[in-house]
């Protein structure tokens, strides 16, 4: 019997998204992702000073603003015809790298882990750790109070197959708390060169504002060392522990099987080599990335704009009355194919193109440790593993970049805003491929378009009715209990989406099931 599940809102992600799931015989057979929020950022950029885009586009996302600052700066570098000095290039990498570490750690511990970890185990903690004792006392007092909101914000939650191992659960609670502090320090590290975080102020066309002094180098490096220690000895082992406890999730959440990476972290002046290379993996083959092959379908998106436009000619005309449209997200496609973006795409492309030896070795060793084929990367656990391994690669490279800075050397090249120009900038946010496109007329922004990672991953159907990557990953997911679709939450969160979600379980005649719990 087929039925439809509704989770609205799905929490522990960023932003507003809703998903409808049709479940038949305990398996998802159809899914719809619906973006539920529109702000009109691209429209409000029209007519402004092009440099203002650097700040305004950061407000697209408070979790990864540095990535938008980077995309916007690369776009303006091109449009203004300016090249950052060496220090400027390195500082941008250090800011972006710090943000990757913050974002990946936050995602695993504070967004995704509660799908696996049984936080209630803390009530039976008998150890000597003062911090954990404090949490136990708090949780116990909350439970004893008998109020409906006891142990908020962690309870209530779905019933489900949480980790049974008490020690593992207790360690996870301890690491949840430690990760709050570590991610905060990653932000401090970013702030040394970024001026503040979220919404750094120093990344600009032509480089960065903050200058280089030895004390800043040390302040960055010393925090980084602590974060690296956490990645190596806590984060990666925890991902491995979750993988060992849930081997089925190497098979669940496969998705579309195609990957796209724009590449990220400039190792040379613009247009040169990157730490993680650009490339696409389409129908089982690695192909070079060509920016002309990106287009956006809008058949099921709430816009009246033309479909299949290249972002450089993109339009964003909202249309609330459009029939069949179910999402505020457009449906970006590459070479007319559905593709997934994110840490998995970056690490797999780096591995398959043999362009980053460290990434390749980490991927190979991890697959060997689980005796798993490369295809296992296309899964819930594959995405978590890729994210954790990438954090290690990026942190280790940041430790080298920071030592390449030269105190006293310039960080910024002065620019002039031309009367007319255009440009684009491609980078990778923690969540995947990110591109900005600009047209300048009369020294003002005439058109600005952003194609953000979650638009790729959480896209609705396209003009050919093909499901987006996250929709495809949900199809085939086993749902043990339609009233507690914990498995769907795990699949959705493995993408680290940047939009608030809702998941619906409906019967063929679209009758909603009675209330159910959502993670």
């Amino acid at each position: 019997m087929s039925r439809t599940i509704s989770i609205d809102p799905v929490t522990r992600i960023e932003g507003h998204l809703k998903i409808e799931l049709e479940v038949d015989n305990g398996k998802v057979v159809d899914a719809r992702c619906q973006g539920e929020m529109f702000r009109g950022i691209e429209k409000l950029l029209y007519g402004r000073n092009p440099v203002d885009a650097n700040q305004i586009t950061q407000r697209i996302c408070g979790v990864c603003p540095a990535s938008h600052a980077q995309a916007s700066s690369l776009t303006l570098d091109r449009a203004l015809g300016v090249e950052p000095p060496e220090n400027g290039r390195l500082i941008r990498n250090l800011i972006l790298g710090a943000n990757y570490l913050q974002s990946h750690i936050l995602h695993f511990y504070h967004l995704a882990a509660l799908d696996f970890v049984d936080i209630t185990t803390i009530l039976s903690y008998t150890g000597a750790d003062a911090g954990l004792q404090k949490v136990r006392q708090w949780a116990q007092a909350e439970v004893d109070s008998g109020k409906p909101t006891a142990v908020a914000p962690f309870l209530p939650r779905y019933e489900g197959d949480y980790i049974k191992d008490t020690e593992l659960n207790i360690a996870a609670v301890a690491h949840y708390l430690k990760a709050l502090e570590i991610r905060r320090k990653a932000h401090e590290m970013l702030c040394i060169f970024g001026g503040r975080m979220p919404h750094a102020v120093t990344i600009l066309p032509g480089g960065t504002a903050e200058n280089v002094t030895v004390d800043k180098i040390l302040a960055y490096a010393s925090r980084l060392e602590e974060i690296q220690d956490f990645i190596d000895n806590v984060y990666i082992p925890d991902v491995v522990a979750v993988a060992k406890a849930y081997p089925a999730y190497f098979e669940i959440g496969k998705g579309c099987g195609n990957l796209l990476a724009y590449g990220v972290f400039e190792e040379e002046a613009s247009g040169g080599k990157k730490l993680l290379a650009p490339g696409a993996y389409i129908d089982g083959k690695v192909v070079p990335f060509e920016v002309s092959k990106v287009s956006e379908h809008v058949r099921y998106s709430k816009y009246s704009s033309a479909s299949k436009l290249h972002p450089s000619r993109g339009e964003t005309e909202p249309d609330l009355a459009k029939t069949d449209a179910y999402s505020w997200l457009k449906a970006p496609r590459y070479d007319n194919k559905v593709v997934e973006v994110g840490p998995l795409a970056r690490m797999a492309v780096a591995h398959l193109t043999a362009t980053n030896e460290k990434a390749s070795r980490l991927v190979t060793d991890t697959l060997a440790a689980f005796n798993a084929p490369v295809s296992a990367l296309f899964s819930v656990l594959g995405r978590h593993a890729a994210r954790a391994l990438e954090a290690k690669v990026v942190a280790e490279r940041c430790a080298e970049w920071v030592m390449q800075l030269k105190p006293g050397e310039p960080t910024h090249t002065k620019y002039q805003i031309p009367k007319e120009s255009e440009g684009f900038g491609l980078t990778e946010a923690p969540r995947g491929a990110l591109g900005h496109w600009i047209t300048i007329k009369n020294k003002r922004i005439n058109n600005y378009q952003c194609v953000v990672p979650t638009t790729w991953n959480a896209s609705p159907r396209d003009d050919k009715n093909r499901l987006g990557p996250m929709e495809q990953a949900l199809v085939g997911t086993p749902i043990a209990d339609a009233a507690n679709p914990i498995e769907a939450g795990r699949v959705v969160r493995s993408f680290d989406p940047c939009i608030a979600c809702a998941v619906h379980v409906v019967t063929p005649d679209r009758e909603l099931v009675s209330k159910f719990r959502v993670l």
Binding site: R12, F38, R39, L44, L180, F193, T202, A502
Partner: protein, 333 residues
């Protein structure tokens, strides 16, 4: 013989209830009976907080996570009962909505509503939705009206919630509004900033718990954090006074010519610093972008990186080419 926690603390001469207090309450200056009363109240009933997101980027939530003293875990377990927060809560879907509906129906006047992000209104209210009722999407506008009218107090956190911010910037296609326009009768505090500083958010919550409403300015901002403009306390003020402009971003000198909004931006980040005092905007060689002001990011069409003409730069006394000319009178006898 084993002692209970309470017995053990009494043995040490502290009342159990006071020992349960969060650190900021254990500090001096609060009379003992009040401390005990507060501790008793907080033990049984920490302040319920419901944190709603409208047209937000989650930046103010992420910024609040950066609180150092007290750290965020301490805030959640000792100061408030965070009943609803989209980014951290375990529950989702109807389970999550139950929390909001319970607050509206059963907790009237007992919780604080925090709103992050602006609210699209009128015909545009479909631009932000969460949850459904009778198969119809519920808009952020409906949630804010219902929760706001049931709340004890409302905190509009971040410039989008306080003044409309980025979504309400021209041409404001979604008819985005600040929370105060939806809830003109509510006891409301604006805590702007793009993002808000964690000290401002946690500090305002603590002030409400300990002493009631803080003193507010004309824009409903707590004067304790937003009482002075950046220019008044800027570490580059001497460069302004001496007529030394910065040649480029990152350089030494006053950043006014590069578009700095310090002269009209009310906040104390110049003293407080960002991210555990590591740095702040002007120290990093970047002009202030005026992110705590109602005009952000339009500034009358000048925007963020365009120098304000003198007549538009409020708060500066102009008399000379760059800095005020001063005449020092020397009295001779």
């Amino acid at each position: 013989m084993s002692l209970s926690r309470r017995e053990f603390l009494e043995l040490l001469g502290c009342t159990a209830s006071v020992a349960m207090l969060p650190g900021f309450l254990r500090a001096g200056g609060i009379p003992e009976p009040i401390k005990i009363a507060l501790a008793e109240q907080m033990k049984t009933d920490p302040l319920p907080v419901i944190w709603l997101q409208g047209q937000s980027c989650a930046g103010c939530s992420v910024s609040t996570l950066n609180s150092v003293h007290p750290d965020i875990a301490e805030v959640i377990t000792e100061t408030i009962s965070l009943q609803f927060h989209p980014n951290v809560m375990g529950a989702a879907g109807d389970f999550a909505l139950d929390v909001l509906n319970r607050a509206i129906n059963e907790q009237k006047g007992q919780f604080v509503l925090v709103v992050e992000g602006s609210i699209p209104t009128g015909d545009g209210s479909a631009y932000c939705q969460m949850g459904e009722h009778d198969h119809k999407p519920i808009t952020a506008e409906q949630w804010v009206l219902q929760l706001g009218n049931a709340a004890k107090a409302v905190l509009a956190v971040g410039t989008c919630a306080a003044f409309g911010g980025i979504p309400a910037a021209r041409p404001n296609v979604t008819n985005a509004k600040p929370v105060s326009e939806l809830l003109p009768e509510a006891t409301l505090i604006n805590i702007p900033g793009c993002p808000s500083h964690p000290d401002w958010v946690i500090g305002t919550v603590a002030h409400v718990i300990l002493y009631g409403l803080p003193e507010l300015d004309e824009h409903k901002r707590p004067k304790m954090f937003f009482g002075k403009v950046v220019h008044e306390q800027c570490e580059r003020r001497a460069d302004f006074e001496n007529g030394i402009p910065a040649e480029d971003f990152g350089g030494q000198g006053c950043l006014y010519d590069l578009g700095c909004k310090g002269p009209e931006t009310h906040c104390d980040v110049c003293i407080r610093g960002w991210n555990n005092k590591v740095n702040w905007c002007i120290r990093s060689g970047s002009p202030c972008i005026g992110c705590t002001e109602p005009d952000f990011p339009d500034f009358g069409g000048y925007g963020l990186y365009t120098k304000l003409p003198r007549e538009a730069a409020r708060g500066i006394e102009w008399s000379g080419p760059y800095a005020p000319q001063r005449t020092i009178k020397v009295e001779t006898t």
